[in-house]
């Protein structure tokens, strides 16, 4: 077939793919159409990939450098290995471990984008045109940062020993990070003014890979959602840069689409935590040092409550609102909480769940966890929706949530000031299941705990809920 015609057909298939990505994202706006939207997007992806394969098979071999069968072996083996790993991990991962897997998939996507630029640069052996030159360098920098950064983020969420979820001090701290950035900028300018230098390219690669590590290590585990979202946006940008390098429109469109969506999502998440993205990336509060004492009403003692008391309060309430948080996700207590809720409902108690926008490890993560545990979707209520109902609730049961319930956020001058919170303190009585009086991510005391209406139930979220179930059954 005529090569021009063949290429035109490939481009039409890529256009169909790009349209499917946009339509798929639009359909993911609503829970009712979201799954279909993901399938539309996947269908577009399949069309784009198959069309590429057909085009590469049928096109006349380029005059210089065709590897023929070897290239196809590479593609088939690569797809088999990558596809197998992706399919296996995606199907077997526990829903609680899902954020780190998304981060891992993000890492390999960024890695692939960086490798394309490296390969292209080594292949041309001469100063590329200005556009390609800029795109290659940006692709290597962004792709490499997102590769190591996402791996570290994933490791932090898994709680690996080398990447603990607490903020880790990097030798030299921000000076190291700044020096690495300076090296990248200097080497990039050196290449952009017209020099072809493979060592300089590898210097950029090395600096960017280390930069990804030093950027992510000092950030605490609770901020990982924002970091992963930001790195997702980075990968999109890197892929768009790879599109400029290869002059491929579908890479540019899909990459830019993800770059923009990731940026919006990152801002939404940061806003919900009342933090700026900049603040998170340079490691604002929460480093365990320089903890700010809340200038709130001091004194007020903590009241501890027994398992049986808590069970009686819950069982004889007419309305209970459960406030699940990060601690519930960590303890994987979503099934236990559903069991307790069902037991209460059998006794005629109205049960709702109050979901803070950043509950869990990512926005919407708590919804997924609770849905996995078969909690009926209508019981999951968003913050604006449920807040007025705390006034009428007999008991608010807080499981592993901390800063998002702190009334100090309503006052100025505390690290959590201005953060939207759940009005848990408006309930008639409050039960908090918590392991200790430890502080939340903001590093301040939660005034909710010294509220006279609050009873503290010191226990691990999962064990505590299981004991509560047993206690309610025994009534």
């Amino acid at each position: 077939m005529d090569q021009d015609l063949l290429f035109a057909l490939a481009r039409i298939a890529w256009l169909i793919g790009a349209v499917a990505f946009v339509l798929g994202l639009i359909r993911m706006n609503s829970p009712a159409t979201a799954r279909n939207g993901n399938l539309v997007s996947a269908g577009g992806m399949a069309i784009a990939i198959v069309a590429t394969a057909i085009y590469l098979l049928l096109r006349p071999a380029p005059a210089e450098g065709s590897s023929g069968i070897t290239g196809w072996i590479i593609i088939v083996v690569g797809i088999a290995v990558g596809g197998g790993l992706g399919l296996y991990t995606a199907r077997t991962v526990k829903m609680t471990a899902m954020p780190q897997l998304v981060s891992l998939f993000n890492a390999v996507g960024g890695g692939a984008a960086a490798l394309i630029a490296i390969d292209d640069y080594l292949g041309i052996a001469g100063t590329p045109g200005l556009v390609a030159n800029v795109a290659i360098v940006l692709d290597i920098i962004i792709g490499s940062i997102t590769f190591t950064g996402s791996l570290i983020a994933s490791g932090k969420l898994m709680g690996l020993k080398i990447t603990p979820s607490r903020p880790v001090r990097v030798p030299g701290g921000q000076i190291t990070t700044a020096a690495l950035a300076l090296v990248m900028v200097a080497a990039a300018i050196f290449l952009w003014i017209g020099n072809y230098s493979v060592p300089a390219m590898f210097l950029i690669l090395a600096a960017a890979l280390i930069f990804g590590v030093t950027m992510t290590l000092p950030i605490g585990g609770a901020d990982m959602p924002v970091v992963i979202s930001l790195l997702n946006s980075f990968t999109g940008t890197a892929v768009a840069m790879a599109g400029f390098v290869l002059d491929n429109p579908v890479l540019i469109i899909a990459g830019a689409l993800v770059g923009a969506s990731g940026a919006i999502l990152t801002k939404l998440m940061a806003d919900a935590m009342n933090r700026s993205v900049m603040n998170i990336m340079v490691g604002g509060f929460g480093g365990g040092e320089g903890t700010v004492a809340a200038a709130g009403p001091e004194g007020g003692s903590v009241r501890s409550i027994g398992m049986d008391d808590a069970a009686i309060q819950l069982a004889y309430a007419s309305s209970v609102i459960i406030v699940p948080g990060y601690g519930l996700a960590v303890a994987q207590a979503q099934h236990a909480v559903r069991e307790l809720a069902e037991l209460l409902e059998e006794r005629g108690v109205t049960v709702n769940y109050a979901i803070h926008p950043v509950a869990g490890r990512m926005p919407g993560h708590m919804n997924v966890l609770l849905a996995e545990a078969n909690v009926p979707y209508p019981q999951l209520r968003e913050m604006e929706d449920i807040n007025p109902e705390f006034d009428r609730a007999d008991v608010a049961l807080v499981v592993g949530a901390n800063d998002v319930t702190n009334p100090a956020a309503r006052r100025a001058g505390t690290p959590v000031s201005g953060m939207p919170i759940l009005d848990v303190d408006h309930a008639k009585s409050i039960i908090v299941i918590k392991r200790s009086m430890g502080r939340g991510y903001a590093g301040i005391d939660n005034e909710l705990y010294v509220n006279p209406k609050t009873g503290m139930l010191f226990a691990d979220a999962k064990q505590g809920l299981a004991d509560l179930v047993a206690a309610v059954k025994a009534l």
Binding site: S67, A240, P363
Partner: protein
């Protein structure tokens, strides 16, 4: 940069900018509940980098280039396949269960 290069760059750049605006417009309407599946869905879309990886694989002649493109293809495929499958698993959780459960329940006597 000559005129032809500039023209081709501006075409690419136009597409790039419009796609960014498209991404902004699409995402800002999504409710918080769907943010995690959405992030995962967007994450799958940048797996399109597989198309680029296939291009470099078929033209790889030296060993280094072949190794680089093999890793790129494997990485990109993992991004695509894993991304869509895990997103689908998340979204499966959102299907309305109470209705189905109620109709499936055997009717009680009397």
């Amino acid at each position: 940069m000559n005129a032809a290069e500039l023209g081709s760059f501006l075409t690419q750049f136009t597409v790039f900018i419009l796609a960014i605006l498209c991404g902004f417009a699409t995402i800002s309407k999504v409710p918080a509940t769907l943010h995690t599946p959405l992030m995962s869905g967007a994450n799958s879309i940048h797996g399109i980098v597989l198309v680029g990886s296939m291009f470099i694989a078929v033209t790889a002649t030296d060993l280094l280039s072949q190794v680089v493109s093999l890793i790129a293809v494997a990485f990109a495929t993992m991004n695509v396949v894993g991304g869509y499958v895990v997103t689908d698993r998340m979204l499966q959780m959102f299907k309305r269960k109470p209705v189905a459960a109620a109709t499936a329940e055997p009717r009680a006597e009397g």
